[in-house]
């Protein structure tokens, strides 16, 4: 051979180097396939498989008579496949979607970097007109897609909005909450009211589609499918007709109304005014609309029935009266003389009627709402006994409904004063507490509960937002004598129906209404409401039940800066109760048994 020996040696050396190079490749293969193989296998599966959650049709919310309050409606949104971004004429697209250019560009830039094949949502809550326009020009924008979700129509708009609530997109915290783990990432969930409280029931179980996709995110085939399970319907205790009429009775006043069935604890109306339109939220609230709502001085988003507390004023005299009769510090014949005020040390506590009521008994004191009589009752009872009775009726604590983050109200006593204010209790404060002023505070919902318990003669029912299929067992029967309830109820009948009663504005020729007015002071001294600017005017209360003989409805009405309770709230009470009586009568006629 002509190849010389040295050359042959070099070829041999090259051979060794080449074997070494192959060794390097083999080691790298070992590293990728054996050492890190499981990890890469997982990534390749994730590459290929997508789990798409399919939202279940949401359960429908009905009122107690089976009237649907909501409807599931398609909700359109437009998105673009991120693969097609490069060839998009942004100004033309902005035009088509009637968006301004900058916010469109921002949307595109802010897309999900983790999953770059996910379509980018450009605009939500399209109208049918917009959908038609986009569909017509879709061929000009490859990758543009109109998709549909399910949202809600709230059939009664603002009526009962605080109770029914609304749907919205999950927020940042809800995404992390395990309760929402199986909710499709852009499905709507209940964010307020019954929609939120019963979300789990209404939501149903979302289905799952395991699909195989290619690198462009195109669906290749369906590997497995679990159909969604429709959410359950719920039936609210609320009566939409009653709710509607109560809200109409409110007019443009600010305040709350809570109506309860005394024999079951069902909440048949819950008004908080001003209200809002839940449809705004369900179709994706616009920033401007939200700003308007949240910056409205009248706070339409505040549930005044549960989220605002005020001194209950004279409506609290019901508690003081029951405590006095039960504790034996007074009976129905006990008389107190009111000459317009009572003096205590250097302090003078006035009655609202400066000329005085003269000598009166419990019945008359309730009817005419004499403050001096109840100062005396308070003095005889002491604050701790008053507080104990108030708590028996559910005051000073949350209802546990969890419809909203509710206020607990406040029932002060000596212990509370010592702990919170580091001061002893003064008798003057007892006087104030006995007539529902001073530290005492309650929500309209709590006062409705009190009224309901008085109306049914001491049975405490768990308040229920849902219609009950059968008569519930009371949670407890208060240890209060029937005679006490009879005496107080007859007083409350007098408030509305007797001469000199403070609640005569609620008197009805149709039904015997019982009630108690109240006025919560806004500024120190009482003034005649009509000549005071609205924001300094007192808050008006009216609690009532009817009929006297066999109560079917108990309610509380609260009107912010309404002035005197009887005048401002009386007509609302009357109208609401009469409406309910009519509804009841119709029902009984329709369902003879």
């Amino acid at each position: 051979m002509s190849t010389d020996g040295r050359s042959s040696e070099k070829v041999l050396a090259a051979g060794y180097i080449i074997v070494a190079l192959f060794f390097v490749l083999a080691i790298r293969l070992w590293q990728l396939q054996i050492l890190e193989g499981d990890e890469y296998r997982k990534i390749s599966e994730e590459n290929r498989l997508r789990i798409v959650r399919v939202a279940a049709p949401r359960g429908i919310i009905y009122d107690r008579n089976g009237t649907p309050l909501v409807r599931n409606t398609p909700y359109y949104y437009v998105s673009i496949n991120s693969q097609n971004l490069r060839n998009i004429d942004v100004p033309a697209l902005a035009d088509l979607l009637s968006m301004d250019r900058d916010s469109l560009i921002e949307k595109i830039k802010g897309r999900n970097q983790q999953n770059k094949y996910e379509p980018i949502r450009l605009k939500d809550g399209l109208s049918m007109k917009e959908v038609a326009r986009i569909e017509a020009r879709r061929s000009d924008f490859p990758g543009l897609e109109v998709d549909v979700d399910v949202s809600r129509d709230y059939l009664f708009g603002e009526t009962g909005a605080h109770l029914i609530g609304y749907l919205g997109k999950p927020n940042r915290f809800q995404y992390k909450n395990p309760d929402f783990r199986d909710v499709p990432s852009d499905a709507f969930i209940g964010q307020w009211g019954a929609e939120r409280l019963y979300d789990k029931v209404l939501r149903g179980t979302s289905g799952e589609r395991v699909i195989e996709v290619d690198a462009l995110g195109r669906e290749l085939r369906l590997l497995s499918e679990k159909p969604p399970v429709r959410g359950e319907d719920i039936k609210l205790a609320m009566d939409i007709n009653l709710q509607k009429q109560a809200e109409e009775a409110f007019g443009d006043k600010t305040g709350a109304l809570v109506a309860i069935k005394p024999d079951t604890g069902e909440i048949i109306a819950l008004v908080s005014k001003p209200s809002f339109d839940p449809n705004l939220f369900a179709r994706g609230i616009k920033y401007k609309e939200w700003e308007e709502l949240s910056e409205n001085r009248k706070l339409p988003m505040l549930d005044r029935a549960m989220q605002s507390q005020y001194p209950p004023g004279s409506t609290f005299k019901i508690i003081t009266a029951i405590a006095a009769l039960e504790q034996g510090v007074a009976d129905t014949n006990t008389k107190v003389t009111c000459d317009g005020s009572i003096s205590y040390g250097r302090w003078r506590f006035g009655c609202w009627l400066k000329t005085g009521h003269g000598t009166l008994n419990m019945h008359k004191a309730l009817v005419e709402s004499c403050d001096v009589f109840f100062y005396e009752m308070g003095r005889r009872l002491g604050i701790d006994k008053i507080a104990a009775y108030a708590r028996m009726f559910g005051l000073g604590r949350e209802s546990g409904l969890q419809l909203v983050k509710e206020r607990s109200g406040l029932i002060p006593d000596t212990k509370w004063k010592l702990e919170k204010k580091r001061q002893p209790w003064y008798l003057g404060e007892t006087f104030n507490a006995a007539i529902g002023q001073g530290y005492v505070a309650a929500t309209p919902f709590q006062m409705a509960e009190v009224t309901s318990i008085v109306a049914n003669g001491g049975y405490v029912y768990r308040p229920s937002l849902l219609a009950l299929a059968s008569a519930p067992q009371p949670v407890e029967k208060l240890n209060i004598r029937p005679e006490t309830f009879e005496a107080v109820k007859s007083g409350l009948f007098g408030v509305v129906n007797e001469k000199g009663g403070t609640g005569s504005a609620a008197r009805s020729s149709m039904v015997n209404i019982c009630g108690k007015t109240g006025t919560a002071q806004v500024v120190g001294t009482r003034r005649d409401s009509k000549y005071v600017p609205e924001k300094y005017r007192d808050h008006a209360w009216f609690v009532a039940f009817a009929p006297y003989e066999a109560p079917k409805i108990a309610l509380s009405v609260f009107i912010e800066h309404g002035g005197h309770g009887g005048e401002a709230a009386g007509p609302i009470v009357k109208r609401t109760i009469e409406a309910y009586m009519r509804i009841e009568k119709n029902e009984n006629r329709q369902a003879p048994d």
Partner: protein, 373 residues
Amino acid sequence: MKIDRRLIKNFDFVTFLLIIGMAVIGIMTIYSATRHPIPGGDMPTYYMRQLYWLFVSILFLVAIVSFDYIWLKRLAYVLYGAGIFLLLLVLFLGKAGMGAQRWLNLGIFSFQPSEVFRLLYLITISRYLSELQGEVTLVSLLRTFMMLTFVPVALLIEQPDLGTAIMLMLVFFSMVSIKGLHRRALVLVVLIGLVSIPFLGHIFWAGLKDYQKNRLVAFIEPESDPSGIGYHISQSKIAIGSGCFAGKGYLKGTQGPFRFLPEKHTDFIFSVFAEEWGFAGSFVLLFLYLSLILRGLDTARKAKDEFGSLLAFGISFMFTIYFFVNVGMTLGIMPVVGVPLPFMSYGGTSLLANFVAAGILINIRTRRFELFY
């Protein structure tokens, strides 16, 4: 021409069967890589076209083997001139693809002259070096470079076909090394190499097209560019790694047909193979290539003349570079230079050129005893 009985007796069946095996594995893998992700769906017929090319390539191989390679030596400079002509032609008439002008359209098919040229270059440099007496001195080193290497490298960079250009340079230095460098020339080569790396690197970088720069950046920092070249490398690593030991099974791979892997039937064919056949299959495949290359080196040692020896070495070296650069790229340990995997990647010109190269190897080995032909 009368077929000599000794020709059949001495025929290098090992090399022949190795490359046929690789080509068949390649066609199977091309089929799997380009199949429709849903069974029964339409698919392109790359595998059929590659099969036709395989038959054509075998015919060429037989033709190459049937006459003595001494004719290659005789025709070397003519072939070289023709090669340079082709490179010039492609610069003026070539059609562009992927930002580079590498293809010549010949009506029924188009081919890449650079694929052919590297063989012609090997033949020429083998002849030139084989006629050189003794070690390569400094002067003859420079002369060889200027005469035979500089022009084609410049033309290739102009295309640009960086891969083949670098390939030619490597072949040049490896061939003169094997021939034997004079000590002073060796020192100079090493010194120039060391000193010019940063300097050349700069010129080199400035002369790169954007997509070439991206490839280098992505190689160093794959996460910097998740949708570009870095994305290719990571998807290739996912494909290979997910094969684990035994592989997902033939036609069960997903990275290729589901389009996660780019260039799945050309440059990244090894990834598709490794995904379906796992470490076991990949290791066997490595072994096949190693066998082919070592067999080629053995041919270089046993060749009857220095021309044959240098040519066999050059061809084996070229296979090594292509294999290592391609597989190294799919494994994420080499930059993406767009080099096909010999015998397996889809591409007619490449397959044909490699078969011709292997044919020359077989030719040299088969005629190793024919001293006085």
